[in-house]
């Protein structure tokens, strides 16, 4: 049974008022245990709305969402879901509020009602998982840290709750290239070592290619593609999508194919693209 099961999900904000907005329209998808799902779409496509259904913040206007076997239409279930599904918002470092790193990371475990030794153990574990040295940072005030480090502290705060499902909304937003790489490595490690189910929202295909198994593409609230990366990239409707960042090397391959060149448009990595270009150059030299 899938851990996330979305059936015909529709969500409307402020129904019945002049500001009514349909953010999601009949979305159906599912995620299995241990899977890595990438969610892609432009701003306003409904990605952020959808992931808030996964941890019980929102309930469906129509359709059904089942998380770990619990129906989110039931208020009781929604109120408990935060314990199983960890949601990392965009720019999570903006939500740090405690006086020390330790206190902030342990906020979640404290709310879970765990014993003090457990709380301490989980906090230290979580800090180590995000690549921070507990002895050095635990006593520091979050304000003293750089943006990249604060983000890792915020992620540790969610990891400390040991969620079964981890949902991340654009985890690399606003970071410099090195910072981005570090976060992506961290996420990949989590999936490989802890086998958590991960859902990652991004508008960068490059990141999705690096990490995800399957990808869901949203546009204006509708699911327009869902499946394995390679299959989704092959679909026409996808390539013309505005606001979704195709890596330059894919753009290159697709443009060349469009100009009639003999390239394999099924490739997805930079290395593969390089090989294709090498082949073209060989042909050219002949």
């Amino acid at each position: 049974m899938p851990v996330i099961d979305v059936q015909n999900l529709t969500h409307v904000y402020l129904p019945g008022t002049p500001y009514e907005k349909k953010a999601l329209d009949g979305v159906t998808l599912s995620v299995n245990q241990g899977e890595f799902l990438g969610v892609v779409g432009a701003n306003g496509s409904g990605k952020s709305t959808m992931i808030q259904h996964f941890n019980g913040l929102l309930s469906p206007t129509a359709g059904k969402v089942t998380i770990c076997g619990w129906d989110t239409a039931v208020k009781q279930h929604r109120n408990e879901l935060w314990k199983k599904v960890g949601l990392v918002f965009q720019y999570p470092e903006q939500q740090l509020f405690e006086a020390t790193v330790f206190d902030d990371v342990s906020y979640g475990p404290r709310n879970l009602g765990l014993s003090s030794p457990d709380i301490e153990r989980r906090t230290i574990e979580a800090l180590k998982k995000v690549g921070l040295e507990p002895d050095t940072v635990a006593g520091l005030s979050p304000i003293c840290l750089s943006g990249g480090l604060r983000r890792r502290v915020a992620i540790a705060g969610v990891l400390a709750m040991k969620p079964e499902i981890l949902v991340l909304d654009e985890p690399t937003a606003g970071l410099d290239p090195l910072g981005k790489e570090m976060i992506l490595k961290l996420i990949k490690k989590l999936q490989q070592e802890d086998h958590i189910t991960i859902v990652m929202v991004s508008h960068s295909i490059r990141e999705i290619i690096l990490l995800a198994g399957r990808v869901a593409v949203l546009e204006k609230g509708r699911l327009i593609a869902f499946g394995n990366i390679k299959e989704v990239l092959r679909q026409e409707c996808f390539q013309a999508l505005p606001g979704v960042m195709l890596p330059d090397y894919l753009q290159l391959i697709y443009t060349l194919a469009g100009r009639g060149k003999n390239v394999n448009t099924g490739i997805i990595t930079l290395a593969e693209a390089e090989l294709e270009i090498a082949k073209l150059l060989e042909e050219k030299n002949k």
């Binding site: 500001y19 701003n43 913040l57 935060w82 509020f97 304000i143 705060g157």
Partner: protein
């Protein structure tokens, strides 16, 4: 996630109506006069007079009354509490008894008139902020308070403070919503029966909001400095404020109502 979360409390609504075109000083003065009238004299005919003025103004401003009244939902507790206090604590002829305390007729009268006065206060100030853009409002306040300059009070800084604060109300509300959701996702209980837990949850929202506001203040200061703001009075903005005939008429009408209110005490 940019969704139109409806109109925020008192937010400026663009328009070209008679009310929009009035000098901001007229509106500020008019608002104060009306509110003062009903505070001074709360007989029902005075309240009726002043509330008619305000409703007429809302009508003339072409702002939908539904928009204006939407904000009242959040204030209903305040209104209810005021009514109850007046009804129960005013001495006079008891109408009925409620669990040991008596509700008097005078109390009900006073309670009702209090609600209406609060309503006038709300409607008047909403109309003001809905038909006057923050910078215009700031210029109006600055111009009216300019004599205080001689007392070394930093009037122009004060006015730009107000207008900037008004401009950021929707942004801050949105930020608060996002932070609340993020903390709720970590188990913050905003509806907990334990007051300490609830307080802690609110701290979890207030501290980040404050931090963001401090950062914002610093960024804004840099941006304003870069555009040659030196804290001085903006003579152009205030200098371009000019009273026209409409303004004279409006102030005249409101003053007449005020005089009537005073006379009819």
């Amino acid at each position: 996630m940019k969704q139109e979360k409806g109109l925020k409390l008192g937010q400026f609504v663009l328009g070209n109506s008679v009310i929009h075109q009035l000098d901001p000083r007229t509106k500020i003065i008019g608002c104060f006069i009306v509110i003062f009238s009903v505070l001074m004299n709360f007989k029902w005919y005075v309240i009726l007079l002043n509330i008619s003025i305000i409703i007429a103004a809302i009508f003339l401003s072409r702002v939908k009354i539904a928009r204006v009244l939407r904000g009242l939902r959040k204030l209903k507790f305040l209104f209810l509490l005021s009514f109850i206090f007046q009804a129960v604590l005013t001495s006079g002829e008891p109408v009925f008894y409620l669990g040991g305390v008596s509700v008097t007729r005078e109390g009900i009268d006073l309670g009702t008139s209090t609600i209406f006065r609060l309503l006038i206060l709300y409607l008047g100030s909403s109309l003001l902020t809905m038909t006057t853009s923050p910078l215009k409002l700031a210029s109006g306040i600055e111009s009216l308070l300019s004599p205080l300059h001689y007392l070394k009070i930093p009037v122009s800084q004060f006015s730009i403070l107000i207008s900037t604060a008004l401009r950021f109300i929707p942004t801050i509300i949105e930020e608060a919503e996002i932070i609340t959701r993020a903390q709720r996702s970590r188990g913050a209980q905003f509806n907990s029966p334990h007051i300490f837990t609830r307080l802690k949850s609110f701290t979890a929202v207030l501290v980040p909001l404050l931090a963001a506001s401090l950062q914002r203040a610093s960024d804004l200061a840099a941006a304003m400095e870069s555009r040659c703001y030196t804290g001085g009075s903006s003579r152009i903005r205030t200098g371009s404020l000019r009273f026209k005939e409409k303004d004279g008429l409006a102030i005249g009408l409101v003053s007449l109502a005020f005089v009537l209110s005073v006379v009819l005490i």
